[in-house]
């Protein structure tokens, strides 16, 4: 409903205010008269009338903004009243809103905050807590972003086809950032399921609204498959549990079934995008009944493809891990050492942590201990530090 109101008023604050008013009126009115036949349409019409009222009042007062306001009023009165029940027009509004919230002229932090506020409906306080910033600072961030949309003329629409692919990948990037913030929160608690749930819900919405855009489907399946392991990633004491040690019977079977179904629907002959490839990798893990049954050569091949589509040292590191599992730790270690020489991942704790693990498996204990110490100094969360400390003690004791 807020999306529809923004669509006609072009005023984000007015839209939110009128939507709230409509809910208050609904409580009074429905209590007396009973719930109308089409409650969604009732709410939208009430909010819309309230917005027209407000704009009329503004038009009567100010002369400077008169022209703009009257233009908006005319647009509103021409616009077909939309019903949230029949879906389509509302859907279009939400899609427009998604592209507007994720416009590259806004900072990434603002894009994420706006998406959570206007599309997921989280309160400013909830968003502030999710990103560990004071509520006043988050409120300020939202105010600035809405002002920029208005004053800089950021359009409220789905971009034309020549810009669509690039802008869709910006929307996907925001959703994945949101998911990852929940999946491995940058500080404090290791997993925040609420953010993951929101990202998945919005991913599902994007798939529906874009009629199954390939990378949107790829991202949704990737998130579903990763999220399916949520119950097993930490033990009772809050310590990190490695993929190979996780209780696979506790993985979310419904999420895996949905995710695998989507992965199987990928067109096989066309070159895959980065989210599709990552989903295919996650599917190799989710589909393996035991850690030993994992198809590592296939995973190594998929990482190779991913490195060609999006060259990145982190992808290379993951490929090295998969190669080590497929062809032995010595082969993997050579790849990791070559990566280390480039210096591209300096300061990233998973580089020495991976090297430590491979050295441990090659029984080169002193070198392993040294690499664990290096990783420990860089690890950002307490759970990861605890895990590395335990491994370091093992390599010293053995």
């Amino acid at each position: 409903m807020v999306a529809t109101l923004i669509g006609v008023t072009r005023d984000w604050d007015l839209a939110e205010e009128c939507a709230q008013d409509a809910f208050v009126k609904a409580l009074e009115h429905w209590g007396r008269e009973g719930v109308p036949r089409n409650p969604g349409a009732w709410l939208t019409t009430t909010a819309r009338n309230r917005a027209i009222d407000q704009l009329r009042r503004a038009a009567a007062g100010a002369t400077k903004e008169r022209e703009a306001t009257e233009g908006t009023l005319a647009a509103m009165e021409q616009a077909e009243p939309t019903s949230p029940i029949d879906g389509a027009p509302i859907g279009d509004d939400r899609l427009r809103l998604m592209y507007t919230c994720c416009h590259p002229a806004l900072s990434v932090e603002a894009q994420v905050a706006l998406t959570l506020r206007t599309l997921a409906g989280l309160t400013t306080g909830e968003i502030a807590r999710a990103f560990l910033v004071p509520e006043a600072a988050m409120a300020q961030r939202l105010v600035r972003a809405k002002r920029k949309i208005r004053e800089a003329g950021i359009p409220y629409r789905v971009p034309p086809s020549d810009a669509l692919a690039e802008r869709t990948s910006a929307v996907l990037g925001v959703l994945y950032l949101l998911f990852n913030e929940g999946y491995s929160a940058s500080s404090g608690a290791l997993v925040r399921h609420d953010l993951c749930d929101e990202a998945i819900r919005l991913g599902r919405l994007l798939v529906q609204l874009t009629n199954g855009e390939r990378e949107a489907v790829g991202l949704l399946s990737l998130m579903l498959l990763q999220h399916s392991r949520r119950a097993t990633r930490l033990d009772a004491a809050g310590a990190l549990v490695l993929l190979e040690d996780q209780d696979r019977t506790a993985w979310d079977r419904f999420a895996i079934a949905e995710g695998l179904g989507l992965v199987q629907s990928f067109p096989a002959r066309e070159p895959a995008g980065p989210y599709e490839l990552q989903a295919a990798i996650a599917a190799c893990h989710a589909g393996a009944r035991t850690a030993e049954a994992t198809d590592w050569p296939r995973i190594a091949g998929l990482y190779g493809e991913l490195a060609r589509v999006v060259p990145s040292p982190v992808v290379e590191l993951n490929r090295a891990v998969a190669v080590a599992m497929a062809d032995g730790p010595a082969v993997g270690l050579r790849l990791v050492e070559r990566l280390q020489e480039t210096g591209a991942l300096a300061g990233y704790h998973l580089l020495p942590a991976t090297r430590a693990d491979l050295l441990r498996r090659l029984d080169r204990r002193e070198e392993a201990a040294e690499a664990y110490r290096e990783a420990l100094a860089l690890a950002p969360t307490p759970a990861e530090r605890d895990f590395l400390t335990a491994r370091l003690d093992q390599s010293l004791a053995g």
């Binding site: 800089a152 003329g153 950021i154 359009p155």
Partner: protein, 115 residues
């Protein structure tokens, strides 16, 4: 909506540019302005003399203080500007991307504060 597009380039690098490249650059600006003229979005624009020719003026305690040079020393300097009137920020970004200076410098797109 109206926007100003501030063209920011490294003047020192420009000075060292060979003459034939400078001539080609001027021709590109002619083409750009021709295209924008045809679209009826261009409201104005000028090329600026280098910052060596700039004078900065401030009034402090009622006195006019004049200093040689730009108001701030930066690696890139504003070398020119266009004023365009177009539909929205997306169109402004599209236009900014066509300014030849965007390829070796940067274009700051600012909405004009309409009074």
């Amino acid at each position: 909506m109206r926007y100003i597009m501030l063209i920011c380039n490294d003047e020192v690098a420009w000075e060292k540019t060979p003459d034939d490249v400078k001539a080609a650059n001027s021709a590109e600006y002619e083409t750009f302005m021709g295209e924008m003229g045809g679209r009826n979005v261009l409201q104005g624009g000028e090329r600026l003399r280098p910052v060596a020719d700039a004078t900065t003026v401030r009034v402090r305690d009622g006195k006019v203080v004049t200093v040689d040079g730009p108001f701030a020393e930066t690696k890139e300097q504003i070398g020119g500007y266009f004023v365009v009137d177009c539909k929205d920020l997306d169109e402004a970004i599209e236009i900014a991307g066509k300014i030849p200076g965007a390829r070796d410098g940067s274009i700051e797109v600012r909405p004009i504060w309409e009074m």
